[in-house]
């Protein structure tokens, strides 16, 4: 039945099978079996992450560096541990501040240079006259039109989506503040783009979940077929 499998693999397979069934029981609403499976998963994931951090980060930093680097690392570790206690939390502020500051600087700098500026450039490239002229000279009018329409969609979608999140309104006495009609129209258009985006994301989530379901069902079928060879 389970020929060629060692006991560890067999135990792992059986546990995986049982936990998968427990998770699928969520179809019948929240139940203890589902909760137990979730608790086991969270606990195992946390334990595994801790083990990985100890193996790949802490131990190499403690014993794989030079003495001066080790002292520096230990100092920062001790300062961060001070944050665990309210009385000594202020001592750990420098280390925490360094982490937060460096993280923020890296994230902001990367977002500007790696996302914001390239995306602005890419959106404007749809209306680059040089490319248009080259396509026109080549007689690719359809490509020019397609290129132009894609740029127009990107432009309208970007502007309309930004207009939807524009909540500025001029106050009027004894009246509910309303946005300008132009902004209101753009906001409605932006809602369409946002709805499409959410739909695409939902489809991707459903697709990913469906793939996970298929994999789990395939695993169950495999186990069942191994348990019941004639099936």
């Amino acid at each position: 039945m389970f020929a060629g499998m060692n006991s560890v693999d067999l135990a792992g397979m059986l546990v995986s099978f049982i936990l998968t069934v427990f998770v699928l029981l969520y179809v019948f609403d929240d139940n203890p079996l589902f909760r137990m499976a979730i608790y086991i998963f969270i606990g195992v994931a946390a334990g595994y992450a801790s083990a990985v951090a100890l193996k790949d980060v802490i131990l190499p930093r403690l014993f794989g560096l030079e003495t001066q680097q080790q002292l520096l690392v230990v100092l920062w570790v001790v300062l961060l541990l001070m944050k665990l206690f309210p009385k000594t939390a202020k001592i750990g502020n420098p280390a925490a501040g360094l982490l937060v500051g460096v993280g923020a600087a890296v994230a902001v700098g990367g977002a500007v240079q790696g996302t914001l500026l390239p995306q602005i450039t890419a959106s404007s490239d749809f209306f680059a006259p040089g490319d248009m002229n080259l396509a026109m000279q080549a007689g690719q009018y359809g490509s020019v039109l397609e290129y132009f329409m894609r740029g127009l969609v990107v432009l309208v979608g970007t502007v309309a989506t930004l207009a939807h999140f524009h909540f500025g309104a001029k106050p009027a006495p004894n009246q509910i503040p309303n946005r300008k009609p132009f902004i209101e129209v753009l906001s409605k258009i932006g809602q369409v783009f946002i709805a499409v985006t959410f739909g695409v994301i939902f489809a991707g989530i459903y697709s990913a979940a469906l793939s996970a379901l298929i994999e789990r069902l395939l695993f169950l079928i495999t186990v069942i077929q191994r348990m019941i060879p004639g099936l």
Partner: protein
């Protein structure tokens, strides 16, 4: 009534008083010897004392002419003065100087020559002046610029000065007093000091002689008044002073009068305040004793209205009694005739005053009335009983005025200083307000109370739909997978997306032995999707001879990588022989990733960088391709933002391509990076569909096994969404129709 001060008063002065007149304007009071000898002899001892205290110069000159008895008195006075406290002697001098100054004002320098005229009866002189003024009709005209009060004072001073002049010629013996003093002057001794402050020191009059001339009824009034108000006649014995001693003090030369202060009258607190001063007065001259005692007693009795009224009335009577008889000047008789009211009072007094002798019996309240008396009344009654026989005046016991007497009570039974007011903390609420308060209280209590977790109730139709969808999905998917018939073919190569095709081309460009960095950045939950999408790509890489370097910023990434390679690609000897390098977990998120991209060796110092395939790796440019397998768009963005710029240092031609295999849920957010110029993501494979497209070029793999179930599941989802939308629209339309009918 008035008096012309411009008239020559010296004509009215008795002869004996002319010697007292000062010689110069400055009040040097240096009379010539002839006059001074007369004056010194005629002056009573109190007057001599004043002169001694005020004017030391003349004293030495007059000592030679002083008779022996007067010298003894002076010595006695000096000896007393030495024993007296200095402050009190000053007070004595001040009191004496007051009337002496008034006396000196009467005598003007230009009148001095007239003083030498023979002194006649000054009263006759006054009558003559009065008659002359009446004839001239200038009494009021000449006094226009002078107030009436001042005129009255001047008149009194004139009389006092006349009396002094008259009394200065008298000897201090009793016989001389009785024989030589005018009757009206004798009556002055009974004047109340308060009424005639300038004459207080004229206590040398004989009370007995006074009593002889005063009517009997008025004497009774005086006695009664003295008993009640402790007038000088009564107070003096209280201080151990007999009225006769006042005269003996002036006549007895040998021994000073030692006054025994009786403590009994000192029970009054007001008198107690001056007890020390009273004791000091025992060594004072007798006339000053009398003066100060009268002043003290007077000050202690101001608060008693009834007694004050009585005293004032008696004082008026005393004054009027002075002018009774034949000794009164004629002009004073006329003045009295102009005041008939006083005569009427005098006639009525004998009938009314005796009633003062009798004590008014205290009323007795009936029993029933005593029971309903207010507490204050009982308290006051008790206080009166405690202070029976004493002069009890209400004394403040609380508040800032505690200890003071005769203070206007500020609602004493309402305002209680020092006592804590009993404030009620509650509100007077109506019934409706109480109901509102209870309602609010219950609402607040409900808000603070912990609500037990209610079991989520799902509507039956929704729960049925959930079961139906689950059963359909599980049944169809399970059936497709169970039968494994490859119902649906893989997509054709002509339909492959450009990003997937680009990824395929980039993988095929990897040369054998080149290092490919593979980032396993996904969670176990989506491992199936990403393994299906990347299995053929990794197989393609392994087929091209690339050497893999594995890394992950997720703690579970290295384990998933090992599991994936061991389960799906274990057929490759490269994998089974573990010739790839798994760098493991890189901590720090985006910062850690940047750190790793900048210097992989420092980021992972524990690795064997000298061994293959890491021996040629110093930075990101040393990799032939970077493949990132992730389900998180944020992680994909971090790779694009932090690592991709370091892969494009030498220009777009030499840039290291970044290929991503992402989950279907991250595709919309990663896709824009593919459409940038230059492309930040060079190739993209997303989800099972992307893997299936890639397998169309590479050959069937894991995506093929999922492809039928995956497509049937998507179709089922489409039908479920469409069916749900139709049902929802039908339900809404039915509801609207029902509302329209109703």
């Amino acid at each position: 009534m008035g008096f012309d001060p411009n008239d020559d008063p010296e004509n009215d002065l008795p002869e004996w008083l002319r010697g007292v007149q000062p010689e110069d304007e400055n009040g040097g009071f240096e009379p010539d010897d002839s006059i001074s000898s007369d004056s010194e002899e005629g002056l009573p001892n109190w007057m001599q004392k004043d002169e001694q205290g005020s004017f030391q110069g003349p004293e030495t000159e007059d000592e030679e002419d002083t008779p022996e008895w007067l010298a003894n008195i002076r010595n006695e006075e000096n000896s007393r003065k030495d024993q007296e406290p200095p402050d009190f002697s000053e007070q004595d001098d001040d009191d004496n100087l007051a009337w002496l100054e008034s006396l000196s004002e009467q005598s003007e320098p230009d009148e001095e020559p007239e003083r030498e005229e023979e002194p006649g009866d000054f009263l006759e002189k006054v009558q003559e002046l009065k008659a002359r003024d009446q004839a001239e009709g200038s009494w009021g005209d000449e006094e226009e610029g002078q107030p009436d009060g001042e005129l009255a004072e001047e008149e009194d001073d004139e009389i006092t000065a006349a009396w002094k002049r008259e009394s200065g010629t008298l000897s201090l013996s009793e016989e001389d007093d009785e024989d030589e003093l005018p009757d009206w002057v004798t009556g002055l001794t009974s004047l109340d000091p308060a009424e005639l402050p300038a004459r207080r020191d004229t206590a040398s009059g004989d009370p007995q002689q006074e009593d002889e001339e005063i009517p009997e009824w008025l004497t009774d009034i005086r006695q009664k008044t003295s008993e009640d108000t402790k007038q000088p006649e009564e107070v003096l014995p209280a201080f151990g002073i007999e009225p006769d001693e006042l005269y003996e003090a002036g006549s007895e030369d040998d021994e000073p009068v030692q006054f025994e202060v009786d403590e009994e009258p000192l029970e009054d607190e007001q008198v107690d305040a001056f007890s020390e001063e009273t004791e000091i007065t025992g060594s004072l001259p007798s006339w000053l004793e009398n003066l100060q005692t009268n002043a003290l007693v007077e000050s202690t009795e101001d608060a008693e209205e009834e007694r004050l009224n009585t005293a004032a009335y008696v004082e008026d009577e005393d004054v009027s009694a002075l002018f009774e008889g034949d000794d009164l000047p004629d002009w004073l008789d006329e003045v009295e005739e102009e005041e008939p009211e006083e005569e009427e009072i005098e006639e009525e007094l004998p009938e009314q005053v005796p009633a003062l002798d009798e004590e008014i019996p205290k009323g007795e309240l009936p029993g029933w009335l005593q029971e309903i008396r207010p507490v204050e009344a009982v308290t006051s009654t008790v206080d009166e009983a405690e202070g029976e026989g004493e002069e009890e005046r209400e004394q403040e016991t609380v508040g800032p005025l505690s200890g003071l007497r005769d203070v206007l009570p500020a609602e004493p039974h309402i305002i209680h200083f020092g006592s804590k007011p009993k404030l009620s903390t509650g509100f007077e609420l109506t019934g409706a307000q109480k109901q509102y308060a209870e309602l609010l209280k219950s609402q607040v209590k409900r808000e603070s109370a912990s609500i037990p977790a209610e079991r989520r109730s799902v509507a039956n139709p929704q729960l049925v739909f959930r079961w139906i969808i689950a059963i359909l999905l599980l049944t169809i998917t399970f059936s497709v997978l169970w039968w494994d018939r490859n119902i649906l073919p893989l997509p054709g190569q002509d339909a492959i997306p450009a990003e997937t095709f680009a990824a395929h081309e980039l993988v095929n460009q990897v040369q054998p032995g080149e290092r490919v960095l593979v980032g396993f950045e996904y969670q176990p939950g989506l491992a199936a999707e990403l393994e299906a999408a990347s299995a053929s790509l990794l197989d393609d890489l392994l087929g091209s001879g690339a050497e893999l370097v594995l890394v992950s910023t997720q703690p579970v990434g290295p384990g998933l990588a090992e599991s994936f390679l061991g389960s799906q690609l274990s057929g490759w000897p490269y994998i089974s022989e573990r010739r790839y390098a798994n760098l493991g977990y890189v901590s720090g998120g985006a910062a850690g990733l940047l750190n790793f991209a900048l210097d992989p060796r420092k980021a992972k110092p524990d690795m064997s960088w000298s061994l293959s395939p890491l021996d040629t790796i110093n930075n990101m440019m040393d990799f032939a391709m970077v493949l990132v397998i992730t389900d998180d768009p944020d992680v994909a963005r971090s790779w694009v933002e932090q690592v991709q710029p370091l892969m494009d240092v030498g220009g777009s031609d030499q840039a290291v391509p970044l290929v991503m295999v992402v989950s279907a849920q991250a595709e919309p957010l990663v896709y824009p990076y593919y459409y940038t110029t230059p492309r930040q993501v060079s190739g993209l494979v997303s989800g099972v569909s992307g893997g299936a497209f890639y397998e169309s070029y590479h050959g069937e793999s894991l995506a093929r096994r999922y492809w039928d179930a995956y497509n049937i599941g998507l179709v089922l989802a489409v039908f479920v969404i469409a069916g749900g939308s139709i049902i929802n629209l039908t339900r809404t339309s039915l509801n609207r129709t029902g509302k329209g009918r109703s």
